[in-house]
Amino acid sequence: MIGDIFSHIGEVIVDFFRNEESWILLILLAGGGAAILGIPSGPEILHLIIILILTILKKTWWLWFFVILFPLFVSLWLYWRQELYKKRLSFTVLEVKVPRETLKSPQAMEQILYTFYTLRNAPSDLMSKYWKGEVTKWFSLEIVSFGGEVHFYIRMPSEYRNNIEATFFSNYPDAELAEVDDYVSRFPSTVREARLRSVNIWGTEFILTKEEGYPIKTYTHFENQSEEKQFDPISGFLEVLSKVKPEEIISTQIIIAAGDPKWGEKYAHIISDLRKAPTTTVESTGPEGGKKEVPLPRSRGQTEALEAVEGNISKPAFDTLIRVLYLAPQEIFSDSYARSALLGAFNQYSSLNLNGFKQNSDASSKTGGWSWPHASKTKRNMYREQRMLYNYRKREIPPETFMGKLITSYPANLNFASKRFKMNTEGIATLFHLPTVSVLTAPHMIRVESRKTGPPAGLAIYGDEKELERFL
């Protein structure tokens, strides 16, 4: 509680100093005070002040040294311990075989995601945070197209496998989950290997266009329609993936890690801002004259936004990172299709008064002379490609600490660009769910042909061998 009070006071002080007006006020007060007290002001006082500050610094350098180095040390230490923790994690990749007819809406996927959320782990005390280096374990939902053949994969920490399988089967009874070798081992591991195999790579990360408090257009929007207007936007996505040429590969991963349950509190201000009805000033024709603030009725867009944001922050959210990778042999490499088509597919979910997706161009694997530092474009591009490839293969999450990002940077490629955003279960379910019956890209997916039902009544599956009636 005392910590809260101090942090609140600290925030107030920081906010005070953030305003330029406060600084002007302070300077005026100091000047006015000096004039009143008769202290000599002007250049002499400035000189004196500077000398004073310098002498104080010289006498107490040992304090400032500590104050500056200690947080850096903690940051670096945390990075090291977290990397050790991450290295000890083991993951399993399961392929999801899509049943031929899924009558379930993406809400089934949302239920599965709730289960993912309940598996959340977070460092609960100083020991787990600073010694074990615990971080929230993450899952990866992947849709990959190998030359037009689309596969769905889920990568999870191995210890959660049974949980995930159970929840999957309870929500999608006809789907099948099979453990497979990670397809990523087929990708080149370094840019040099890629060049030698004459394979070119392009990759990027997608981020939100507005604050995370605003949701994207989720599946509920597309569902509340009549029969013929019903549309599963993942079909647009799958169409893009299926149009890939036979030797190309487009792979997408959505990395999710269960986030802080109180994430919505930061965005309560959006709601209060939106709830304030807009006003307009009107010349009053009454006896007083003058202007008057008159409230306007809220526009439909604003009401929608208000409801959407309220709905958004009421659900649990994941720290999300969306990565996309495109690989093709050199002669047929053409990343413009991948870039524009994928961006278009993601932007089916965007809306002007809500949120949308855009490329995180600082993290993308191709840059030009127009971004800082405007030099050595080829080298920077190579490093970016390498980092994108490495991050994709390892399903890396960006380091949490400043020193972590600094130490994983290179002069040609800083690591401060990659970032995660919060998206709630509804949003993730919209992006990744088994295609419903309205999706027609049947030829491009290998589906499970059979249906599954329960066993016939009276089957002795729980009994002992002795209880079976034997035919003699």
């Binding site: 000398i51 004073l52 002498t55 104080i56 006498k59 107490t60 040992w62 304090l63 040294f65 500590f66 180095l69 200690f70 850096l72 040390f73 670096l76 230490w77 990075y79 090291w80 990397e83 050790l84 290295k87 370094t190 840019v191 040099r192 290997e193 060049r195 030698l196 195999r197 004459s198 394979v199 042999p329 050199q330 002669e331 080829t378 080298k379 190579m382 490093y383 390498q386 980092r387 490495y390 390892k394 020193m403 972590g404 130490i407 994983t408 290179y410």
Partner: protein, 174 residues
């Protein structure tokens, strides 16, 4: 000194405050040294744990660092000169040398593996048409190395050396 003594003097006995300041200074300097040591220790540990993109660092803009390396070119020329005499023995020696050369090149390019066969396997042929020829040449070399008194006529030997040469040319080494 004047200013600080003046400031400290505002709070009471200057001597007392100077003493306290001295002690705090001592403690903090001790902490600072400890902090520096810990920082360096953690820096070394963090360095061993971070991802290294070293495979790129030698490239410096060119894609293959062995591109027309003069040492390799001259070694290959020597190799070819040694078979001018067209004796079977000279050919076998040359083939074994050529295999060693290609192994060194592959190692330099960063291909991992215990033997050259592992390395050649890791080259997904993709657009390289000469990898099959390289496999065949390597098998011939293995036969030469493992069977004593292996006889090789000059036509076959020239073909084998040609396969090695084509591979090195396609990589851009020769």
């Amino acid at each position: 000194m004047d200013i600080t003594q003046f400031l400290l003097g505002q709070f009471g006995n200057v001597r007392l405050w100077e003493f306290i300041l001295g002690e705090v200074r001592f403690a903090f300097i001790f902490l600072d040294i400890l902090l520096i040591a810990l920082f360096i220790f953690t820096l070394m540990k963090a360095n061993s744990v971070r991802p290294k993109f070293g495979d790129l660092i030698h490239l410096s803009g060119k894609e293959v660092s062995v591109l027309r390396d003069p040492k390799i070119v001259s070694r290959w020329q020597e190799l070819m000169e040694s078979v001018a005499g067209e004796s079977s023995h000279a050919y076998t020696v040359a083939i074994i040398d050529a295999d060693k050369l290609v192994d060194a090149v592959l190692k330099r390019l960063g291909f991992k593996g215990e033997h050259i066969a592992d390395r050649i396997e890791r080259i997904a042929s993709g657009n390289l048409s000469t990898v099959d020829g390289l496999w065949r040449a390597h098998r011939v070399r293995n036969e030469i190395a493992h069977t004593p008194g292996f006889e090789l006529n000059s036509v076959d030997a020239k073909q084998v050396l040609g396969a090695y040469e084509a591979f090195l040319k396609e990589l851009g080494v020769l």
